[in-house]
Symmetry: C2
Amino acid sequence: MFVLGIDPGLTRCGYGVVSRTGRRLRAEAAGVVRTSPETDLAYRLAELQEEVGALIREYRPDHVAIERVLFQVNVRTAMQTGQASGVVMAEAAAAGCVVALYSPNEVKSAVAGWGGADKDQVEQMVRSQLGITTPLRPVDAADAVAVALCHLAMLPPESGPGRSVREAVVR
Amino acid sequence: MFVLGIDPGLTRCGYGVVSRTGRRLRAEAAGVVRTSPETDLAYRLAELQEEVGALIREYRPDHVAIERVLFQVNVRTAMQTGQASGVVMAEAAAAGCVVALYSPNEVKSAVAGWGGADKDQVEQMVRSQLGITTPLRPVDAADAVAVALCHLAMLPPESGPGRSVREAVVR
């Protein structure tokens, strides 16, 4: 199973693709989609739509997990982030993916053990869970991988190579 | 020239297509795109994306004018409306349309003469300007036509059938 995690944003939108085979987790890709603050909003959103569509076509995720946008101090930034998340949600649903949303606290709790974890702690836990030895930068990419891991933690485990698929209790 | 006006929303998204030939304005279409509150958010946004794309393919507007989303008392509704507007903006820009945003006050001022006009006054002025004799309901459709009219009022007038395109001042 492939999960695309998204940390939505307009200037930097983090993405991370995590695969799960049995109990084994693997980071398939991580990065950011950037759009220029000097470009008009509608064209930035169209660029984001195009890039997210390209990621979905390349990695064919079964599920897309997106961090929920909460209202921050900067109202304009929150609205732009919300618009970016709307574009990502529409693109994922139109491509036939299951779409799930998680609050920042849910992501931190699932990955680092508590909702108050800071970005560095989240990044370290993400790398530890996936066996990544180099730093995950920019931090939006690590956040996106964390959203994918949070989603996988909520799903029932798949049966792995060492376990029988059929477990007969009555024959 | 064709302008598609949009009053963004998730449960009801108003649309109105107005054409201008010379000085003549004509309502080509008006209505609402509805999505069900019982459907998951991502699928509602994907439905809206699909319907707006279909409107753009059908009417081939040169410009798409969208009412800017301001923060209302209900934060959740404002975020959903923002997400809907993001989807519309991305779809319009991806289709190659010029995209313009107007605040509710700008729309009311342009159409009804002052920013404090209520919805009924806006609806009556829209019908008066376009010679529509039947009520424009739901009101979201009238609002969307008003956004298109506001945009057209901001553009320089086109030369009409009765006027020469070339106006030579020095020969």
